[in-house]
Amino acid sequence: MNADARPPVIRIRGLVNRFGGQLVHDGLDLDVAAGEIFGIVGGSGSGKSVLLRTMLGLKRADAGTVELYGRDVGRLSPAERAAFVQTFGVTFQNGALISSLTVAENIQLPIREYRTQAPAALAALADLCVALVGLPPETAEKYPAQLSGGMVKRAALARALALEPKLLLLDEPTAGLDPISAAGFDQLLLYLHSQLGLTVVMITHDLDTLFRTCGRMGVILDGVMVSGTRAELAANPHPWIQAYFHGARARAAPEEANG
């Protein structure tokens, strides 16, 4: 595993999360190396979104450590947190664009907060992000409600890229898209990954997206993460993994995995 050479971007050790009496994560470990695209899968309710929220520092872990770039997410002072949130971009399942702002204003929101107020710079950066995700220029002046589902996902990605983070955390980026839009999104992601040298962690249920884009993937099973390449996971005897990787949907997905 190439994670040994450099310190991993994300390093989770012994993560425990529980809701009431229910144990969601029970000693979960995860390493994500710089420059890889890592996919997280798991059954409904297995704690994928909770894991993402823990990585973002939106939820405090009940035990264990979550480190992004070597910094413990759970122990950040308010000042450190302001610097921390600039190191990653995140998209939520339904886009989570602010509905009272246009796409351009949504993109400019973090830039205004952390970087600059200069109108020319704001305009240039909004143009850049819109161009990066392949949206037509006139989209910038539209409100989220005027966009199609695929465009909302792209606009959300544009906002995630606004501060030029090296790490992207994506929650179901292709959920609800038609297969052609989803394939377009996968291509966009691979393209940005190669151009900008991004590290990407995504939660996805879309097997096509998973196999097309992710070099390594992890399955959350009974509160722990089983990770590896597609071939490694396909050889795992666990019944859920067998059902997932050898089910009818998996057989229909293309064989070649992108490294």
């Binding site: 509905s99 200069a118 710079a121 240039a124 819109v130 989220p144 501060l163 900008l196």
Partner: protein, 371 residues
């Protein structure tokens, strides 16, 4: 480290030396440097990136945009020592600009805006007429087929708009009539006309304040709730789901709310009248030492047979106004959370305005009728 940008050369051969911190977080400083570049550049410019530390795509894009603006298409840009993504960014920008080539539409003048406003108003009148028409049709159907009345839903709204409003309506009616009685008592004692406080309170509360206060409280409580509930259902496509299942949202959502309010507002008004008289009586007793028996006998003399009814008859009209405005604004919600907030506010403001306007018309009418 600071970001730097130096331009030298003249005429049509320029050299732009880019140095220092050109990473993404330095965009504010980069932009300041870019502002200093001349408004117009011609010929060729060579950008020397060799001194730049880890240039980010944001600052690089800002520079490319700035050069494109200054060049007016007559500037050739070369890059030396550039990071690998410069060529890619240039290509991306070329495509972006080409796609945006359609010129921005000229801003509208006052005439266009007036026209647009008039069309919007006409559309509003039309959709309101449509909405009212549908309510009439559904109500007519309910007369023939009582199942269309949706009794369970009606009962829930009677409970939510009526029963749960009892404490606040009672309290406010009581307090306001205490205030009116107190102010009246202060003036009337100067003439030794203390006993007329009873007339003042009785007529003010029964004719106007009981019903008006209740209507305003209900507009704030239930008018906004109607608009917000139906608005969220619109955003969640619940109303579309009802239509798709062959059910009529007007019948299921709108008419029960209007009927419920038409039932509850008169009842709340009677309650407010009673609490108001009680408040006036209490103040007369404490402040003016008018005993309760004298208060009630004076009350009987002060009131014409029509006083109570002239207040109460307005209640169903106010109720219908509040409920129609609330549900209508709710049904208008489209697309976004912002619309929901805007239309909910509008529902409350318009329903209070309409209630007061209607009250004024009633006052004129009652004078004419000597009611």
């Amino acid at each position: 480290m600071n970001s730097s940008l130096a331009l030298d050369g003249d005429g049509d051969a320029w050299r732009l030396v880019i140095g220092g911190d050109w990473s993404a977080p330095a965009i504010a400083q980069v932009q300041e440097r870019l502002e200093l570049l001349p408004q117009r550049l011609e010929g060729t410019v060579v950008c020397d990136w060799s001194g730049a530390e880890a240039p980010g795509i944001g600052p690089a894009w800002a520079l490319l945009s700035r050069l494109a603006t200054a060049g007016h298409g007559e500037l050739t840009v070369h890059h030396v020592g550039a990071p690998h993504h410069i060529a890619w960014l240039e290509e991306l920008q070329r495509r972006h600009v080409a796609a945006a080539s359609s010129p921005a539409r000229a801003a509208d003048g006052p005439i266009e805006n007036l026209g647009r406003w008039a069309i919007a108003q006409a559309g509003e009148v039309r959709s309101l007429a449509d909405f009212l028409g549908r309510i009439v049709v559904v109500s007519g159907r309910a007369l023939v087929n009582p199942r269309a009345l949706r009794i369970p839903s009606l009962a829930r709204h009677v409970y939510e708009t009526g029963v749960t409003a009892i404490p606040i309506v009672s309290l406010i009616a009581f307090l306001i009539s205490v205030i009116v009685a107190y102010l009246g008592a202060q003036q009337l004692t100067r003439f030794g006309a203390d006993i007329f406080v009873v007339d003042l309170v009785a007529i003010a509360v029964l004719r106007e304040m009981g019903v008006l206060l209740t209507a305003i409280i209900v507009a704030g409580r239930s008018g906004s709730a109607f608009a917000a509930e139906i608005g969220v259902m619109q955003l969640n496509e619940e109303t579309d789901a009802l239509r798709a299942m062959g059910m009529n949202p007007i019948e299921l959502l709108v008419v029960p709310r209007i009927l419920a309010l038409v039932i509850t507002l008169p009842l709340l008004t009677i309650l407010a009248d009673a609490m108001g008289l009680a408040g006036g009586g209490l103040l007369a007793h404490l402040q003016l030492h008018i005993p309760w028996s004298q208060f009630t006998s004076r009350l009987r003399d002060a009131l014409a047979p029509t006083t109570f009814w002239s207040g109460l008859v307005k209640a169903p009209v106010f109720a219908a106004l509040i409920a129609i405005v609330g549900t209508y604004r709710g049904m208008q919600v489209r697309d976004s959370a912002r619309e929901l907030g805007r239309l909910t506010t509008l529902a409350v403001v318009q329903s209070i305005f309409l209630v007061i306007l209607a009250d004024a018309l009633f006052a004129l009418l009652f004078v004419r009728l000597d009611f």
